[in-house]
């Protein structure tokens, strides 16, 4: 199985998410398992305003990259290949935004 990070970009802050969406987030690992994938970890982030950036010695408020897109969470996904990972990641509930699927560095490849 290959490993991917699924980055969740959601403009609606977590506290404003409809109850139905929150429930679908909670049920996501089970849905993905039914598709043959596996969620091995998940993180939900507090809103952008709570972020603190450090560049060298400089500490500033706000996220490291200022964009309209808000990184709201991330989960680790095991899937057979990219198509399988995309099919699983498509199940992520989103109100306004989308998800990004990124392969993780495979240390086997580095060893070779």
């Amino acid at each position: 199985m290959a490993q991917y990070a699924v980055l969740i970009y959601e403009r609606v802050p977590a506290e404003d998410l409809p109850k139905e969406i929150m429930e679908r987030h909670i049920g996501l690992p089970e849905l993905i398992a039914a598709k043959g994938g596996k969620v091995t970890a998940g993180l939900a982030l507090q809103p952008n305003e709570t972020a603190t950036a450090i560049r060298g010695d400089l500490v500033t408020d706000g996220p490291f990259v200022e964009t309209k897109e808000v990184l709201a969470g991330v989960y680790l996904l095991e899937a057979r290949d990219l198509d399988h990972a995309l099919a699983c990641a498509k199940l992520t509930p989103i109100v306004e935004g989308g998800v990004e699927v990124r392969p993780l560095v495979d240390f086997q490849v580095v060893a070779d």
């Binding site: 199985m1 290959a2 290949d81 699927v101 392969p103 490849v109 060893a111 070779d112």
Partner: protein
């Protein structure tokens, strides 16, 4: 051959190396023993054997590095399916939507058609190192993201076939009207695109959009010889010698169009092919079934709400309802702004104004089109129209 070999290695670079190695072995062996009965099969077998050795070698290495190793559950490399399936898998890998469109086109030419990197670079007017880097990046992504080497699942197939068809259409278009340079038609690219469309048609005979794309390319190919005059100057559809269009290709396209439109809801390529086929059947520009063409453009615009389609539709509007009605459509497109920089917008406007006898405005529009074109043949055409306007 590459397609069959990559199934073993699951790595495009390794597969390419194995294939090259097989050719080298062939040179040595065939010089002594003579050419075998089925040289293609011989080469494929050798390439796959070489590749398999490479894979085994890697697996031994892996076993020796137990701490870093998560056992690879890759499917057993043997047995392989028939070659055509392998080529289809390779096409779907090269045209995966996770790759940028320019990478999809380059990979398809390099890996499915075997065109040399230098030739692809030449065709797309970029330096060879740029094209080589583009190919390398794409191959890295295929490996790192594990873009599968497989025919997509049934529920994804229509969307994925659509990506492949778009790549083939762009490939043909790039050859048909090269965006710049002296040769209007690049036979290499048009020929490759047509071959690939035929291959896809043979592999996916039930897909109506594949039939539609092949029909569309066949009509364009049938008219190819008449797009320019003896001096290489561009000829408009209305000025082309229709007796020189290839009737066999047009007849083949007609059969495909009927099939594409009869078996299921019409798709983008099926409708485009139907429009092209109607043009091809007409005895002259004036005798073209313009009302029917306009109806088809209405369908196409619903399927594919693109400003380029709307521009082409405006030409049909001019033939059905007159140039003023078409100019109103053009004005809407100019206000829309998405076609800013698209040379065919001012060129079409100029033709319409010219037909209305508004020559000063037509001249302005021709000049605007001329400023946007980089193709020498097109520039010459526009300059000639300008001096006549």
């Amino acid at each position: 051959m590459l397609a069959a070999t990559v199934r073993v290695t699951r790595d495009l670079d390794e597969a390419e190396e194995a294939v090259q190695d097989a050719y080298l072995q062939a040179l040595k062996r065939w010089a002594g023993d003579g050419v075998p009965d089925r040289p293609g099969a011989w080469l494929t077998t050798v390439a796959r054997r070489t590749a398999l050795n490479g894979v085994r070698h890697r697996e031994v290495l892996r076993r020796k590095l137990p701490l870093l190793v998560e056992p690879d559950v890759a499917e057993p490399p043997e047995p392989a399916g028939p070659i055509p399936d392998d080529r289809l898998r390779l096409v779907f890998t090269c045209c995966h939507p996770a790759l940028a469109q320019e990478a999809q086109i380059a990979l398809t030419l390099r890996l499915v058609c075997g065109v040399a990197t230098a030739d692809i670079a030449h065709a797309f007017l970029v330096p060879e190192p740029t094209m080589a880097a583009r190919l390398t990046r794409a191959k890295k992504k295929i490996a790192a993201a594990r873009i599968p080497y497989a025919v997509p699942a049934a529920e994804d197939l229509p969307a994925r076939v659509s990506v492949v068809l778009t790549v083939l259409h762009l490939l043909y278009a790039a050859g048909h009207t090269a965006p710049s340079g002296d040769d209007l038609v690049r036979d290499e690219l048009t020929g490759r695109a047509l071959d690939l469309a035929r291959m896809l048609r043979a592999l996916l005979p039930a897909d109506t959009e594949v039939a539609g794309l092949l029909a569309l390319l066949l009509v364009q190919q049938a008219r190819r010889a008449t797009r320019t005059d003896a001096a290489g100057r561009l000829l408009r559809l209305e000025d082309q010698d229709r007796t020189r269009w290839d009737p066999a290709m047009i007849a083949e396209a007609d059969r495909l169009v009927v099939e594409a439109l009869r078996n299921g809801p019409p798709g983008r390529f099926g409708v485009q092919a139907a429009i092209a086929a109607l043009h091809a059947q007409a005895p002259s520009y004036g005798e073209t079934d313009w009302p029917q063409i306009l109806t088809l453009y209405d369908v196409l615009l619903r399927l594919w709400p693109s400003p380029v389609v709307a521009l082409n539709r405006a030409v049909a509007v001019a033939m059905v309802s007159g140039p003023e009605a078409a100019l109103a459509e053009i004005a809407r497109l100019e206000a829309d702004g998405r076609l800013a920089g698209y040379r065919y917008l001012p060129a079409t406007k100029a033709e319409l104004l010219h037909r209305l006898g508004r020559d000063a405005e037509a001249a302005d529009a021709y000049r605007a089109a001329l400023a946007l074109s980089e193709n020498a043949v097109e520039q010459e055409f526009l300059a000639a129209r300008l001096s006549g306007a």
